[in-house]
Symmetry: C2
Amino acid sequence: MKKGLTPICHRFFTNLSNPTRLATLEQLMNKPMSVNELAEALGQEQSMISHNLKPLLQCNFISSEKEGKKRIYSVNHETIGALFKTVENHAQKFCPTGGKCLKGEN
Amino acid sequence: MKKGLTPICHRFFTNLSNPTRLATLEQLMNKPMSVNELAEALGQEQSMISHNLKPLLQCNFISSEKEGKKRIYSVNHETIGALFKTVENHAQKFCPTGGKCLKGEN
DNA sequence: TCCACATATGAATTATTATTCATGTGAAAT
DNA sequence: ATTTCACATGAATAATAATTCATATGTGGA
């Protein structure tokens, strides 16, 4: 059944379909951060952040670089910015009242 | 933990993180189709197609209109086109060799 | 070297989603 | 009005993914 973009889209969107990872990306859109900073900002355990950073890294949605004992993560603004913008536009234009577009709301 | 775009992104990307739904969208990017046409094109059962059309419809990623006893589904080109384009661009630019960007490949 | 900090990993458990199969519903044709 | 086509829905099972907790690794400082 697999055609064209489907496999890569599946991989990417699966990666993006998790609230922890999305919140992480949202944070990183503001500024690069270390794992502990993310954990604190999101109120999550460090191990959970690490687990969730990994797939984002593998897909190159984020990148990292060492700084002392810390590791600083940065978001891929080009891709993630574009995706968020599309989502925002869609939500505004096609789901103005939220309605069925939002989970559990019907 | 939920901030800004995270909930709506979560809803949208969860919706898009399924191979059947993605393949459906890919089909519909070519032309509007009925449920049975989709089922045949994708080699899937009709009930599965119907189940998967529903969330796409709820998020307005597709729309439908009746035509006799059939129901014809059309894709939201604006949103889905933009998303696919972003994915394609990202894959080309940041995952040129596939590598870890593709599931199971490491 | 030894300790502490920062992060990563493994494995088990839990939670979420997908798929299947049976059946329901509505609309047009006979 | 009954049959058939086209599609939708429900509920159970199966598949996949997320989270937690324990522990490992690696790096710099005392």
